[in-house]
């Protein structure tokens, strides 16, 4: 059920839906100022709450202290979106619990004591929240949460206060990006409390046309209300993207399909490919799959390839073959193997 190998509602535009909850313990200083014995104790308590006797989900999670993992394995967790880059920065005193199918993860000692999240394929924010609430309830029964009846769940940074919830959808918007409409969307949405950013690439440039849409405000609205707001925005953006796709097919189908097949041709035959080129071409191939232009390849394969093409995954993949030194060469090989039908 991982978002990587599957597709869900609105799957031709929405890759995945993620909900994250931030929680803290009321009897321990927040991770940024807690000492080592305190952070160790938080890890121990969270682990025991999930995996101990009496936990209804005890067999579902794998416990990984970040300090015990080789650096490449830590980065792989980030590339799969199970861990945040911030968790890696505190590797000596942080840990993560990952559910068997890699749908949920619980980060310990990131910016807050507990950051738990679930990712579902396609547009499924409500389902992700429901699922996450069951984990939250298990933890809450055993741990003293920092909570205030006025301010809600208390977080290290006031930007997460209240619900402690960040809900986000990952969207593929090549037509909106290519026709310059993304800029207007990025500028407008913050005015209604929704943030948009490119998920890959640095700064405002989104490589691979993958965008993340999330709530900015965490206080004053319920979790369900926040998600309802995001749903409206997500569906509107999805409609706009689909409309643009329809229009481009009406205007010049052959030229449009030509661009997609050329991208496919390069990806299946190139010998060396850097990350930027890979993400750019993959966006076109993904579009071809989403629009039914390229048959016999499913979106799960495209997602898998997108994750496999990231640096840490390639390093791990190359480990068996020491003859190849250049990651760009490994990437081209993986792309060709995955996409040739």
């Amino acid at each position: 059920m991982s978002w990587i190998n599957n597709t869900g509602p609105l799957g031709d535009v929405v890759l995945s839906s993620r909900v994250r909850l931030a929680r803290n313990l009321s009897d321990t200083p927040f991770p940024s100022i807690a000492d080592r014995s305190m952070t160790d104790s938080v890890i121990h308590r969270v682990h025991r709450s999930i995996a101990g006797q009496g936990s209804p989900i005890k067999s579902q999670y794998q416990f990984l202290p970040m300090g015990d993992l080789p650096p490449t394995d830590r980065e792989i967790l980030v590339e799969k979106h199970l861990a945040s880059p911030d968790l890696l920065e505190n590797s000596d005193r942080s840990a993560i619990l990952v559910s068997r199918e890699e749908v949920c993860s619980i980060m310990v000692n990131e910016e807050d004591h507990i950051r738990m999240q679930c990712i579902f394929p396609g547009y499924q924010l409500k389902k992700a929240l429901e699922y996450l609430n069951t984990i939250d309830d298990v933890l809450e029964k055993q741990l003293p949460y920092a909570y205030d009846s006025d301010l809600g769940y208390l977080t290290s940074c006031p930007t997460n206060l209240g619900t402690g919830m960040r809900a986000s959808v990952m969207m593929h918007l090549p037509l909106l990006a290519g026709t310059g409409q993304m800029k207007a969307i990025i500028q407008t949405l913050p005015k209604i409390g929704v943030a948009v950013r490119g998920l890959y690439g640095e700064g405002s440039e989104a490589i691979g046309d993958i965008y993340q849409i999330s709530n900015q405000i965490t206080l004053g609205a319920s979790e369900e209300e926040i998600i309802m707001g995001l749903e409206v925005v997500t569906k509107q953006i999805a409609d706009k993207e689909k409309e643009a796709r329809r229009r481009v097919m009406e205007r010049g189908r052959v030229h449009f399909e030509d661009g997609i097949w050329r991208a496919y041709g390069t990806m299946t035959h190139a010998r060396v490919m850097d990350l930027n080129e890979f993400m750019g071409l993959l966006s076109k191939v993904r579009l071809g799959v989403e629009m039914g232009i390229i048959p016999n390849i499913d979106i799960g394969t495209i997602n898998e390839l997108m994750v496999m093409g990231q640096p840490a995954h390639l390093k791990k993949y190359r480990d068996g073959d020491t003859a190849i030194k250049d990651l760009d060469e490994v990437r081209a090989g993986v792309a060709a193997e995955k996409l040739r039908r």
Binding site: N24, S26, T28, P29, F30, S32, I33, E111, N133, D136, D137, E140, K141, Y145, A146, Y147, D148, S149, D150, L151, G152, Y153, L154, S156, C157, P158, T159, L161, G162, T163, M165, G193, Q216, I217, T218, L219, G220, A221, S222, E223
Partner: protein
């Protein structure tokens, strides 16, 4: 031209500020410019800077000194340190810095100051009843505002029922 602040070093930073149609010109040396909070943008901006920028809106430099140094009696975090790093030290900080932090929360959270979402089950139903009554009172007001009196009467009855239940310790 000499720096108008220290009057010693040559002025290398020239700033024209227009705030509410009032134009002011500043000619400063690198050092004096670096010390001014309102010219922070001269250095590269990080997420943390943006966050603390939120906490320290541009205002006369003196105001910061007049804020008494509050210190959390549990984790030792002091208010100035919080403003610098943008992170609180523990849940008690929210109580100790309550008055100072309230306008900051309001600014960050789009005007909201009260949580209306999930309540931990362990805090009991009493709290959620209180919340429900508050919610209903808000709904009652909006029903009255749009002159939906039948709806308003129904909401009022529910409030009465809940209040009675609460009095009986339910």
């Amino acid at each position: 031209m000499l720096c108008q602040e220290c009057k010693k070093n040559p002025a290398t930073v020239h700033v024209t500020k227009i705030v509410n149609n009032i134009k002011t010109e500043l000619h400063l040396c690198q050092e004096c410019a670096g010390e001014r909070e309102d010219l922070n943008w001269v250095s590269p901006i990080s997420i943390n800077d943006l966050m603390t920028g939120f906490l320290n809106p541009i205002k006369p430099a003196k105001a910061a000194d007049t804020v008494p140094t509050l210190r959390c009696d549990r984790c030792g975090m002091d208010y100035r340190q919080f403003k610098k790093i943008g992170r609180l030290g523990c849940d008690n900080c929210y109580r100790v810095f309550k008055d100072e932090i309230r306008p900051i929360i309001k600014r960050i959270q789009g005007g909201a100051t009260r949580h209306t979402g999930k309540i931990p089950a362990s805090l009991g139903t009493r709290l959620s009843t209180t919340k429900e009554i508050e919610d209903l009172k808000r709904q009652l007001q909006s029903a009255i505002n749009i002159e939906a009196y039948e709806e308003a009467a129904r909401i009022r009855d529910r409030i009465k029922k809940l209040e009675k239940k609460q009095e009986q310790g339910g």
